[in-house]
Subunit: 428 residues, 2 copies
């Protein structure tokens, strides 16, 4: 039997605890599959004495994750602390400098510092793996980097924040407004300490920026992700979208276009009967499109102890088996700095416009759209009792510039009761 | 730049042609990703002169795939001929003996000879990879072997024959009987030369036996796969199942139970709203369940030039990157010979019983079920004009032994117009 692979784990929250359990409980299975034992030699966390349901006295303890990362008896530094800077960054850098491989679940760290970390890892001849950072238990990094390595990737899409999908699907199924379901999710412990990370699309945007880098061979550029959260999605829009045959999802889309790299994380309408449309609750889904493979859809739990620890262990097992691949699928020095697209790919849009209920109002709206070159696929005036009449419009495919021109025209009309809602309809 | 990885390709049908196109058209991308060039040095096929839309004059030609497999300028033997024996087997064995790695799309070869081939490959220090053999473009072998390597796998399910799924979903959507749709599929070229391979479940059964080996660390045992095809599925049953909220799928299921290893490929009912239930046309789906990851669902094209060539190239790229994993995820000598389960896991069943339309008939059927210990969840008598009345029954969970006892009781009744239809309802 070969030398054991020795892990140093920093961070013993839910995921770290799950990893410890797997390594302890499945020692024989892991060893058989990897061809060598997997061992934990040292751990580090905020509190040594906290009851986690596991016995950590088998392992050396370090107060400082940086010291843990540098230990001679650690081959792989497993970073499960989180945070884009601070100890996670310091310890990851220390691990690489000390010649360790790194496995991390930290999407924020890589979204902000992925290029620099990948460069230094490659200079040191080490690997950084981060399957657990994107879409929880779904092996999407592996599918994209390795399984589809023979493809030119054309588009990657994903619902990658389970909390947002829980909120949106719960609003629909229970007929409850955003604020009420947000508070429910909060009570259930589904939200990050800073909920904007979830509902503002930031967490999902981090993940998208990592997938984009692998898909298109570009340097991670989280700053170029167009971010829009779900805070302004109303129960009305969810119901209207459903009536029109759609679901509203916080959807990440990245694609390389003639205008540059598009990275968008925003609420979109998708067909109700599509796999994305049918995704309920906290489940995640990634859609990978390549010129050869056409479309692969991956679905699974986006969070939780078991699924996330499963992803971490997939990376650990690859390292144990001797598999070494560049962090983002090709050498970091070869990743290009992609130009962000200045205009997004044309698409149809869903519009909800509250009109004053007086003659000629609809005609003015139709004129504003027509003059901007936006043509109407379907229009529906919803039955109402109030003084304003909700009008729903599905446009034909249009540029966003034309749409914005139309919305600007509308803003000047005297028949619009409130700012129109405009949501992109993504072809999936 | 490192040494090129040199491929020898045997078989230039749809898939082989696709592989040649990828290697030629994406040379830079592949080289960047793999860290070394991928080259084709030699090819072999039944006809040298056939027009395939590619120029094969760049490559050395061999009439005999065995000779191709042994060439000094070949590092990886890419076997795309098909067939469980004959040239494919001879050439694969020759390649291993000559110290080549093997990439194959040949499910029949591995279902019948996987254990022996894996043993000799490992003795020779070579790898056999077969992503393209199962579920076309879906990287399911990779997900199961690598991504979920930290899991004890509990169950694997799949719809892995696109032709069968096409037939079943087309029957439903067009309201056409089996024979008519079978002939349609034949005209469209969807069927194997021997259609029993498709509609008899053999091809999908081959695939299931490979997944079972990886999932449970057992020697491939295709002979133990319980096979039932779709030939006897009627449009009536498809419609009745739909009315009850189900779809009929040719579903592969393998799971390790206290009674041994279950491997079944048979028509089953699954909930209409589940991912499996919603799978239309020729698309494939694999469901992987593990103790940590819960459930991962993978969906994608199950056949075709692009998707299958994509899977072949994923394997080639892994070899180029230096990744070496045992054929079935652990050393072949360590794979156990699993005892086939003598009884399948209890499940609810769908029954369609044609009763003579006379008083007391239904009571006799209910009594036969009750006496065998099969309890009824739902029963529905369908409106009818004929002398026989179709009765639909959904049972509670029952053993198959009890069900068969009930069916045997029924066979002795004087009110049963034709042999009852019994289909398992799989929990998905």
């Amino acid at each position: 039997m070969s030398q054991p692979l020795r892990l140093g784990i920093a961070g013993l929250g839910t995921v770290g605890t799950g990893v410890v359990k797997i390594v302890r409980q499945k020692a024989n299975l892991l060893s058989m599959r990897a061809g060598r034992p997997i061992e934990i030699t040292a751990v580090s966390a905020r509190s040594r004495s906290k009851d986690r349901g596991i016995n950590i006295n088998h392992y050396a303890w370090e107060d400082d994750p940086v010291v843990l990362a540098q230990r001679d008896d650690v081959d792989v530094f497993v970073e499960l602390m989180g945070g884009s800077d601070g100890p996670a960054k310091a310890a990851t850098e220390a691990a690489i400098a000390a010649g360790k491989d790194v496995v991390t679940a930290n999407k924020a760290l890589l979204a902000h510092h992925g290029q620099a970390l990948a460069l230094s890892a490659e200079e040191a001849g080490r690997v950084i793996r981060f399957e657990a950072a994107v879409a929880g238990g779904i092996p999407v990094i592996k599918a994209l980097t390795e399984g589809l390595a023979g493809n030119e990737i054309t588009r990657v899409m994903g619902v990658m924040n389970g909390t947002c999908n829980y909120i949106l699907t719960r609003m629909q199924s229970a007929g409850l407004p955003y604020d009420v379901v947000f508070e429910e999710a909060n009570q259930l412990g589904y939200l990050e300490a800073d909920p904007t990370l979830d509902v503002g699309g930031i967490d999902a945007g981090h993940k998208l920026s990592l997938l984009a880098s692998i898909a298109f061979g570009t340097q991670v550029d989280f700053g170029a992700v167009e971010l829009e959260g779900i805070e302004r999605i109303t129960i009305q829009d969810i119901h209207h979208a459903a009536d029109l045959g759609f679901r509203i999802k916080l959807l990440g889309v990245c694609q390389m276009t003639g205008r540059g790299l598009e990275q968008r994380m925003s609420p979109c309408l998708v067909p109700a009967e599509s796999p994305l449309g049918q995704l309920e609750g906290g489940t995640n889904m990634c859609v990978l499109e390549g010129d050869m493979v056409e479309q692969i859809v991956l679905r699974g739990p986006g969070a939780g102890e078991g699924p996330t620890a499963s992803a971490v262990m997939g990376d650990v097992m690859d390292i144990a088996r001797g598999f070494r691949v560049s962090t983002f699928g090709m050498p970091a020095a070869e990743l290009s700095a992609a130009k962000p697209a200045q205009a997004v790919t044309p698409a149809p849009y869903y519009l909800r416009i509250s009109l004053d209920d007086k003659p000629g109002a609809l005609a003015k709206v139709a004129k504003a759209l027509g003059e901007a070159g936006v043509s109407i696929d379907r229009m529906r005036q919803v039955r109402h009792d109030e003084a304003t009449a909700p009008v729903l419009i599905v446009t034909h495919k249009t540029t966003r510039a034309a749409l914005e021109e139309a919305l600007a025209h509308m803003a000047g009309l005297d028949v619009i009761a409130e700012t129109p809602v405009a949501l992109r309809i993504e072809k999936v």
